[in-house]
Amino acid sequence: MASKPYRGIEKKQARWGFAFVVPALVFFSVFNFYPILNAFYTSFYDRRALSKLKPKFVGLGNYVRLFDPARAESQLSFYNSLKATLTFTLGTFIPLLVVSLILAIFISNLNSNKAKRFLQISYYTPAILSSVIAATIWMLIFDPRGLGNQWMNLLLNTPGVDHKWKTDPMMLQISTMLVYFWKYIGYFVILFITGLATIPPTIYEAATIDGANKTQTFWRITLPLLKPTVVLVSIMAMLQCLKTFSTQYMFYTNGSTRAPINVITFNIYITGIQDQYLGRASAMSVVLFVLMLVLTLVQFRTTKSGENIDY
């Protein structure tokens, strides 16, 4: 047998490392792995929520149904869900990423700690606000008589125009993106600020001594050093957007049409909980899971996560 890769001390350390990780593993297996495996298992059956009978085995039937080209026409098809999800994700996570980075840099540049704190808290308040309340408020804003139209008409000088925030398919998607952006911007600003805080100021001092101006400092030093945080935030933001549910749910229960905002999670919920097709809903969950996995890997590859940046 080849020489063992671990020796005395390292072996002991390896055991400790493993021991540190075990508690988390146990919890994940109970509260995450088991349920998702359960969902995976269910996706091969035609299980109805209330039925006591043994569910019929349909193999890949549920999956075939999702991707059946004959159904693609329908407004509520899975294809449309995929489209809606991707539209929403791209339209939300890119602005979130860019704007939160810009805001974090602006804030960090301020001189007054009080102003920094105030701004951070303010941007974070949408997250502090209960989502029930946020939903109520935004629904009132998007009511045709509400502030949404009032302010848009003021800005564009178009009195009396209903911008159809909740009904026009494109406006509806924009409205959901707007609400989501509002909700999470503060969250990501903080993540970036934390990331910026880990860059030692000595580097900036060195750069200034070397004669670099602000723009050079930003592009050549700050941004590259920030890369791990950017990757982290970018993946988080993307996954968060792919998992969006309550925003769409809130619009639907307040009278919006379903098709433009029928993102995958929403489709899962309606199919499983309202229409009681648990097998189909599970299949959609698995597809979403795979989609998220693939997109995350793509992100990792294209940004080549640089963990060990040497100063």
Partner: protein
């Protein structure tokens, strides 16, 4: 290396699977006396108050029975009861709208009534006490599976002051037909450009099974054939109804839309932003507590559900009910106690009407009582109940309503032609029917 990996994976998966997959439910027959009833219901502050009082009294009379009452929003009640049952851990007692409840009967999730425990002398005695036919909706193979908590229908409330502001006398000029409804709403509507600042009437979206299907039925159409096999009967009726909705919406005469504030929420405020609302008797209770001056002033009235000019059937909006049902998998002792509790609660029909949220229990006694008759305009509701029928409550009702919603909204908001929307609706509903 691989060996340990597999080991990790297997352990991670085996632990929970072993603990949970084995799950043979141990339902040991409980011979001991004390029982606890898990009662799940939906939020309604007035009814909660009443039922908590009744629970106290009941527990005092039955020291061995404890009632755990819990509430959640109406929408969540539907979803969570179902989730609980899907996990085989449903509550002992619950109530849901009948269109969501029927599936529980057909899937064997709920138990038939224990007449004696509920306080009746016999099955016939029970049937006699209730409005004719009301218990048919929860009767399968001769067994009755639930007792009604309430039966609700909606009629048209009118704010007389708003009518007067455009020179109309609500008592004389109220709309009797849908065509009149549209014309009168036109007179009452105030617009700022496209935006409706004040509406005349607006529909109770998205309850299409309750308010839209009857409109189709007025014109001679129906949702499905009598044997439930064929979807969408009488295209002309459907097209006319869909066209009416298209004309009503922003792409037509712009009299209302799905995304404005629901009329029943803003009617009580008397803010001059809505003239009519489609809602139930319980609205009076809300009015009384939110805006007593408006309520007492009687500047409002209630009129029946309109019909089309060329209607062939006089059909009012459908009514719906909530039934108390008992979990068939609960311990038999618990089930018995639960029926006793249900019987006790329901024997207080008048309390439910006057201070439990204005709920109408469809018992003959209550429907003929003076208490009901003395509530303003209650006769309109009673008459409309006679003109209407129970909402479609098959197990697939939620799915079908989603499809109808899709059809109406595509016509109203997306500019779809009624013909195309109908074709889509037909194939969707037919597929649902075929799945049965």
């Amino acid at each position: 290396m691989k060996k340990s990996l597999y080991l990790i994976l297997i352990i991670a998966l085996l632990i929970p699977t072993a603990v949970f997959a084995a799950g043979a439910k141990d339902k040991a027959v409980d011979e001991s006396k004390p029982v606890t009833i898990n009662y799940w219901t939906h939020d309604d502050p007035a009814r909660t108050k009443l039922e908590n009082e009744l629970i106290e009294k009941f527990e005092a009379m039955n020291p061995n029975i404890t009632v755990e009452r819990s509430t959640r929003s109406a929408q969540k009640q539907i979803e969570l009861v179902q989730t609980a049952f899907a996990a085989n851990e449903g509550p002992d007692m619950f109530n849901l709208p009948i269109e969501n409840q029927y599936a529980y009967i057909t899937n064997g999730r709920v138990a038939p009534i224990d007449y004696e425990a509920a306080g009746f002398k016999s099955k016939q005695d029970m049937l006699d006490q209730y409005m004719d036919g009301i218990l048919d909706t929860v009767t399968v193979d001769g067994e009755v599976y639930g007792l009604p908590l309430e039966l609700t229908n909606w009629a048209i409330y009118i704010n007389k002051k708003v009518f007067a502001s455009v020179g109309l006398d609500a008592e004389k000029d109220y709309p009797r037909t849908w065509e009149q409804m549209a014309d009168i709403s036109e007179k009452l509507t105030i617009r700022d450009g496209d935006i409706l600042v004040r509406r005349g009437f607006d529909f109770r979206y998205p309850y299409y099974l309750i308010m839209f299907v009857p409109m189709v039925e007025q014109l001679g159409g129906s949702l499905m054939s009598a044997d439930g096999k064929k979807a969408i009967i009488n295209d002309d009726a459907w097209i006319q109804a869909l066209t009416y909705m298209q004309q009503w919406g922003p792409l037509g005469r712009n009299l209302g839309s799905t995304t404005y504030q629901a009329p029943r929420y803003i009617f009580n405020a008397d803010n001059n932003d809505i003239a009519m609302a489609h809602t139930g008797l319980y609205q009076e209770g809300r009015m009384k507590s939110e805006n007593p001056e408006f309520f007492e002033s009687m500047d409002w009235m209630v009129v029946p559900f309109p019909v089309f000019e060329n209607a062939v059937n006089d059909v009012a909006a459908a009514y719906y009910g909530h039934f108390f049902m008992v979990n068939a998998d609960s311990d038999p002792a618990v089930q018995k106690a639960t029926w006793k509790f249900i019987g006790y609660l329901l024997s207080h029909g008048e309390d439910y009407l006057t201070r439990g949220g204005n709920l109408i229990q469809p018992t003959k006694a209550l429907l003929e009582s003076d208490t009901l008759k003395n509530m303003p305009y209650s006769q309109v509701f009673i008459d409309d109940m006679a003109r209407g029928h129970m909402v479609y409550y098959g197990a697939d009702s939620a799915e079908i309503q989603t499809q109808i919603r899709n059809a109406v909204e595509s016509v109203m908001l997306s500019g779809e032609s009624p013909q195309k929307a109908l074709a889509t609706l037909r194939s969707a509903v037919q597929e649902i029917l075929d799945e049965r």
